[in-house]
Symmetry: C2
Subunit: 347 residues, 2 copies
């Protein structure tokens, strides 16, 4: 399987590490043939051709860049790379921009699908802004658009529904999908102020340098949009979500709820109502023994309601970078397994 990598930040580097340095420790990955047709980064330069993934990883981790003279150095623009390089699967790991409505990732994904290439994306943008168009394009070209790691890192949600809840009709989804806000709300229960809790989350590495994307609910809104579009057949964008963040919350409010036996949580919901899907992301008080309340600080949880079963709850405890990287690898394994039927070779 020949892969073009767009984005080589924490997730891309972790994935490269698992596939090279750690490979022998993960027997489940042995059957994943993998070669790299290019690596395009925002701030470390770009490579095209037969890329030595282990060497590229070492280069970036030691603070180096891909610059003129480095084997395979490329000056192609990423979109031109998507359109012209020789690869089978585009792995899109760039960063979501809500303001740019999922661009430029959306254009990369569209161009790859249009060329008849499979796409795996960890970027919520394409799914949150243009799922129906992209999915229809993928079907027309006979290729796949997979995105397991867009929500709850590598915890299997889309694969679960695809493989094990196929016979069910999904009625509604609800959950806690943003770990920064969940961590901050937990800290406030102990009397810590919002700003101070955010600084701790940043120091522990799971909040971005600019935390407004999390605190204003945009990350959570993008995730519930991805779920609504991919699992409930909606055709929404994050701007359609009835959205509330936690910027106005004080420790006093959180502690008042706690004294009443309840915890304040930023809960996302997508609910089928007739032919419509309603999406929201807002503050809710839940009982202290509710699965949404007992979630660990930086975990995530999703409750799935269907027509044929009682609710199923999937929770992810203590996720690490490895979780997101695994979500991408899991999608690649899905393609590898399917590609046997489509008759192209594993490397």
């Amino acid at each position: 399987m020949r892969v073009l990598l767009l984005g080589f930040g924490n997730v891309g580097q972790k994935m490269a590490e698992i596939l090279t340095v750690e490979r022998d420790r993960h027997p489940g990955l042995r059957r994943l043939g993998f070669s790299t047709a290019g690596i395009f980064t925002r701030s470390h330069g770009a490579l095209a051709g037969d890329v030595d993934l282990a060497a590229a990883l070492e280069r970036v981790r030691s603070g180096g860049r891909f610059e003129p003279g480095y084997p395979g150095f490329s000056t192609l623009a990423p979109l031109d790379a998507v359109r012209t390089l020789d690869y089978e699967v585009l792995v899109e790991l760039t960063v979501l921009s809500v303001r740019e409505r999922g661009e430029p990732a959306l254009s990369y994904v569209r161009a790859a699908l249009d060329r008849g290439r499979d796409v795996v994306t960890a970027n919520k943008g394409p799914i949150a802004f243009a799922y129906r168009e992209l999915e229809s394009l993928a079907r027309k070209r006979g290729v796949r658009l997979l995105h397991e790691s867009t929500v709850m890192d590598g915890a299997p949600l889309f694969g679960l529904v695809r493989s094990s809840l196929r016979g069910c009709t999904l009625l509604g989804l609800s959950g806690i999908l943003n770990s920064t806000t969940n961590f901050v709300l937990n800290e406030m229960e102990r009397g810590v102020a919002l700003e101070s809790a955010v600084r701790t989350a940043q120091a522990e590495g799971f909040a971005e340098a600019d935390p407004s994307h999390d605190l204003e609910g945009w990350d959570a809104a993008a995730k519930i949009t991805v779920l609504a579009n991919a699992l409930l057949g909606a055709s929404q964008t994050p701007f359609d979500v009835q959205r509330e963040g936690i910027t106005g919350v004080t420790p006093a409010r959180v502690q008042e709820a706690l004294r009443a036996g309840r915890r304040l949580k930023l809960v996302c919901r997508a609910t089928r109502e007739g032919n419509e899907v309603r999406t929201r992301c807002g503050l809710e008080e839940v009982a202290v023994d509710h699965p949404f309340a007992t979630l660990s600080g930086n975990g995530s949880v999703l409750r799935i309601e269907t027509d044929l079963m009682g609710p199923i709850v999937v929770a992810q405890e203590e996720p690490t970078l490895s979780d997101t990287a695994y979500g991408v690898l899991n999608d690649l394994l899905t393609l590898a397994d399917e590609s046997r039927h489509r008759g192209f070779e594993l490397a």
Copy 2:
């Protein structure tokens, strides 16, 4: 897909109801072609040939039996039916006997696989007593042995691991897998005596007439054996599980734990230790906000630890009979989807 049904108790009847009376309400099942080659029951007689499933369901639900003169009435022994009737998939829904080491279900399943028929079983016996032999036989004959509903009813565990955790190595499994004991322990926290709690569970329909199978931990032991055999490559029987039940527990003990901020639970564990798998099922005190403690009365929960991700927790809330029936239907959908590649027709 032509199915031979062994067992037509609550689960079989609910499945028949979903496939006939309720069918139009479940669009996800539309593509499941289904015809019935026979129904063999313990106490209602047997049918063979082209069985009218809706009529058979009505007959049994109205208190009737399949007797001489009823269309398709059969005097075949079940094992002979498995060996001689014209069907594609054996659906095994008979009741587990630990004492009989999974028999007679085990012989039915072995005979069907040996004839080159796919098997779906909701009976833990074959998987808990002879998984390795049966799985190897299935592989040799090019057929499938599926058993999603043996643990946590229809909640997707085996499908999840098969489809979404393939790249991971499973390190350990733990959970609460028996709802009767969980319900009884919860009741004891309110001061209710064991016998009285069991009677309530029986009245609500989720404890058997003879509750010793649950209370002595045999049901839980069979389930952790199924998980260990199917997911961790073990080759054990329920007799290999270090097993403890709840018959010696008193309300006083449960309440003492509660006062210390902990809840007494019957926890199952299967842990990889080198090339060995250790299985146990015993009483443990867990913190009141642990996912095992907040589980609803008759729910189940499983925590999955892997090499590549933080722990994943799957919980099932308020399961109904429909959940178990759906687990069987989900396995049939898996076969239907695969059988396109094997080239046999959906009915």
